[in-house]
Amino acid sequence: MSAWKTIRNGIAAWRHVALPGAIIIGLVTATRLTGILQWLEWKAFDQGLRLRPAEAVDERILIVGINEADIQRTGTYPIPDGTIAALLKKLQADQPAVIGLDIVRDLPVQPGHTALVEAFKNQRVIAVEKVLPMTVKPPPMLPPDQIGFADALPDADGSLRRSLLGTSDLQDNWHFSLTLRLAETYLATQHLTLENGLRDPEAMRFGSVELTRFQPNFGGYVRADAGGNQVLLNFRSGHQPFRIVSLQDVQSGKVDPSWIRGHIVLIGITAPSVKDVVNSSAIVTDNPGQTYGVTVQAHAVSQIISAVLDQRPLLNAWAEGWEYAWIVVWGVLGICLGRVVRAPLWLMLSLAIACIILISISYGLLLLGWWLPMVPALLVLLLNGAGLTAFYRYDQDLRSRLQDRQRVIDYTFSTIHNGPLQTLAGVMRQMQSQELSSSQILVELQQLNRELRSVYDSVRQDALVQSQQFYLSYEHELNLQEPLHQVLYEVYSSGMERDLPCFKTLKVQLITFEPLDERYLSVEQKRALCRFLEEALCNVGKHAIDATRLEVRCGCSQGRNLLQVTDNGSGPNPALPEGMGTQQAKRLAQQLQGKFVREGRSTGGTLCELSWMAKKAWFWSR
C-alpha cells in the first residue's frame, strides 16, 4: 500500500514538469506525422551517408561514360546507332556478364541502325525505357526480357534516395527496372535467382538476402508513395566508387579486359551538356548535389550485388511504433536531465553529452544500415532538456520560497506561543496571587520585552530579506535627489555589510564623504559612480588579502572631484588583465574626461581612484 502511495506521490511531484514535457513530445510527434520534419530528416540522413568512411571500388561494375570529348569527336548528338553498335561489339568481345545501355533508343539514329539491331541480338544487352508518364518506348527490336525501365523517383526536395525495382505501368503491366535486370543477370552467373521474399511475399529475394521493401512511412518518410517495389539507395561511399572509362578509352583499347570479363558494364552519358543528372546530396561529387544518371544506376546495381554477395548492409528502418518509442525515450531523458541536474552549466554539459551520444548511436547504426529518427529525438531532447527546465526552474524557486515563508510563519507562531505568551500568562498568574514583588515583575517584563523584540526582529528580517530579492539592487531605491556624497555613503555602508572574505581582517576604516561638485553630472553618470564605488569595495573584499586598513575618500578640492579607495592588503598584481569592472571604470573616466588609476602602493596595498574636473561636457563623448 505504501509503495503505491510513494509512486503516486512521485508522479504527483513530477506532474508539473512531466506534463509539459509530454506535451512537447506529443507536439513533435504530431509535427513528424504531418511531414514537416521530413526535410530535416532527409538532410541529416544524407549527411550521415556522406560522412561514412570510403568503401573499396566495386570492381564488378564498369561504367563507360560518353563524355564531352567523346561527343565532340563523334561530331553529332545524339550519338549515332553505329557508334553504339561498335562499342557494344567491342565490349562483347571481352565477354562481360551483362551490358546495360542507359541511353534512350526508342527511335533509330542513323547512321548504323542495322548494326545496332545486329548488336542487340546478343542476349547480354539490356536497354532502357520509361514506363511512368512521360513514357519512353524501348528499342522495338528487343524482347521484354532485355528491357528495363530507368524511371527515377525523386523525393519532394528533388533528391533521389530510392531505387525503383519494379512497377506496374498505367496499363497494369508489370515491368522490371534496368537495375534489377542487370543485377538479376549478373547474379544468375553466380547461380542465384530472383524469388519472392520469405518474410515479405511481395519483396524480392536473391538467395538468402531479401531486399526490404520501401513502405510509406519508412524511416523519416511520411506518407510517401510506396507504389511498385522500391528500396532505399545505399550509395557506395567514397570518392570513386566505380571504375569509369570513356568511349575513347574503349575504342582505343585502353581498357583492361579483366575489367570487363564477367562483370557488369553500364553505358551512359557523362557529359555535362546533356544533363542526364540526378540530384543527391548523399554522394560525394565534384558538382555538389548532382550525379550522372548512369552513376546512380551503378550505385543501385552495386547495392543489390554487394548485399547478396558481400553481405553489405541494405538500408533499413524500424517499425513506426519503435521509432516513436525511441523519440519518447529521448524526450523522457530530456525531462529527467532537466529535473535532476540543477546547475545550468552542468545541465548544458550533460545535454551536450546526451546529444553527442544520440548522434553517435545514430551514425553508428547508419553504418550498419539502420536509419533511426535522429532529428525528432534530438528535438525533443533539447526542447525538454533546455527549454522546459529553464522555465520550470523558476517555478520551483518560487514554490520553495513560499514554503520557506510558511516555515517562518509556523516558527514565529510557535515562538510567540512558547515565549511571550507563556511569560505573560506566568506573570499575570503570579501577580494575581501576589506572589511577586515589583522588582521581580520588572525582571519578568524585561524578559517579555526581549522575547517580543526577537519575534519582531525575525519577522521583519524575513520580510526584508525576501523583499530585497525582488528589488534588484539599491539602484532602484537610491534617491538621486539626495546629494551624491550621501548616496555614495549609503553605497559604501551597504557594500561593507557584505560577507566578503577579505573584510574579516579589516580593523580600521578611514572615511571622508564630503560634498562633490555634481552640477554637470547626469543621472546615468551618478549611477555609474555608485557602481564604481561598489565595484572597488567588492575588489577589496575579494582580493585584498590580509588587509587591515581601508580608506575611502570622496570629496572635491580646487574644482577637482575625487573618489578613492585604498587598502593595505597584499592583493593580486594590478598588472593582471583587466576585468569588466576596470573597463567600465575606464569608460566612465573617459566620459567624465577624468582619470582612472588602479595601482599598487609603495607601502603595500592597492589604490583605486577616479578623479575628474567638474566642467560641462563640450561635446557628447560616449
Binding site: Q509, L510, F513, E551
Partner: protein
C-alpha cells in the same frame, strides 16, 4: 524670577506619539531632573515648531511618529525630521529613544558631523541606563550602540587629531591651529573618536588617557 535665572532654566522636549510612553519617560526624567522644564509633543511637525520657538537644551525623540495628527506613524518621518533638525540646530543635544535603532544607520554621516551630544537609547533599556544616556547627551557625549558599527570607522580628520595628540603631544588649541578648525570642533572630534573607540565617561577614569590606551590597543597609533 529675573531674566537671568529664567535663562538658566533648562528645557527638555520629549517627543513620542504614544501617550503612555510619553508619560513614562517624562516621569522618569522628572525624578532625575526635578528643576527642569519638560515639554512634550506627539508629532514631528509639532516638535519642530516647538524647537523653533522654545530652543530646548535636550531633545528626547522617538523615530516612529506621524508628521501631523491623523497620519500613520512611520520611522521614515522621524528619521527625516531628525536629519533636518541636526542640520538646522547643530549644537542641539539629542537622545533618540526608539525600538528601531537599526534604521539610524542611514544617518551615520549626519551624526558624525553633529556638534551637540547624541546618544541612542533603545526602548528596552532599564530606566537607569536611559537616564545615564540622557546625562551623557546633556554633556555633549556621543553614544551609538555597537550594533550600528561593524568595524572601526573613523574620518580622516579624527585620525589627524589622534596623531597630533598622541604622537606630537599637542593640546586641543594647537591641534585646532594645525588642522585649521575651531577649538570647539576639535572637542567634538574627540567625542566622535571616543564613541568610535567605545570609550565612555566612567567614574574615576581620565577619558583622554582611556582613549590613548584604546587607540594603541587597536594599532591606530604606534
Amino acid at each position: 524670577m529675573s531674566q537671568a535665572v529664567s535663562k538658566a532654566m533648562t528645557k527638555f522636549l520629549v517627543v513620542d506619539d504614544h501617550e503612555s510612553v510619553l508619560n513614562g519617560t517624562v516621569e522618569g526624567l522628572k525624578r532625575q531632573y526635578p528643576t527642569v522644564e519638560i515639554h512634550t509633543a506627539q508629532t514631528a511637525q509639532a516638535a519642530h515648531d516647538w524647537i523653533k520657538k522654545g530652543q530646548p537644551d535636550l531633545l528626547v525623540m522617538d523615530l516612529s511618529m506621524p508628521n501631523t495628527p491623523g497620519e500613520p506613524a512611520q520611522p521614515e518621518v522621524g528619521i527625516q525630521r531628525l536629519k533636518t533638525l541636526m542640520q538646522e540646530y547643530p549644537t542641539l543635544n539629542i537622545v533618540v529613544q526608539s525600538a528601531h535603532v537599526q534604521s539610524l544607520v542611514r544617518l551615520k554621516p549626519a551624526i558624525s558631523d553633529h556638534e551637540g551630544g547624541f546618544t541612542i537609547a533603545d526602548k528596552g533599556l532599564p530606566i537607569l541606563e536611559m537616564l545615564k544616556l540622557v546625562d551623557w547627551a546633556l554633556n555633549g557625549v556621543n553614544y551609538t550602540p555597537k550594533e550600528m558599527r561593524t568595524r572601526l570607522e573613523l574620518k580622516h580628520e579624527w585620525m589627524a587629531v589622534l596623531k597630533l595628540a598622541f604622537h606630537e603631544g599637542l593640546q586641543d588649541k594647537a591641534i585646532a591651529k594645525r588642522i585649521h578648525v575651531r577649538e570647539r570642533t576639535v572637542r567634538h572630534y574627540w567625542t566622535k573618536i571616543q564613541d568610535a573607540l567605545e570609550v565612555y565617561p566612567e567614574e574615576g577614569k581620565n577619558i583622554r588617557i582611556q582613549t590613548e590606551l584604546r587607540a594603541r590597543q587597536l594599532g591606530l597609533i604606534d
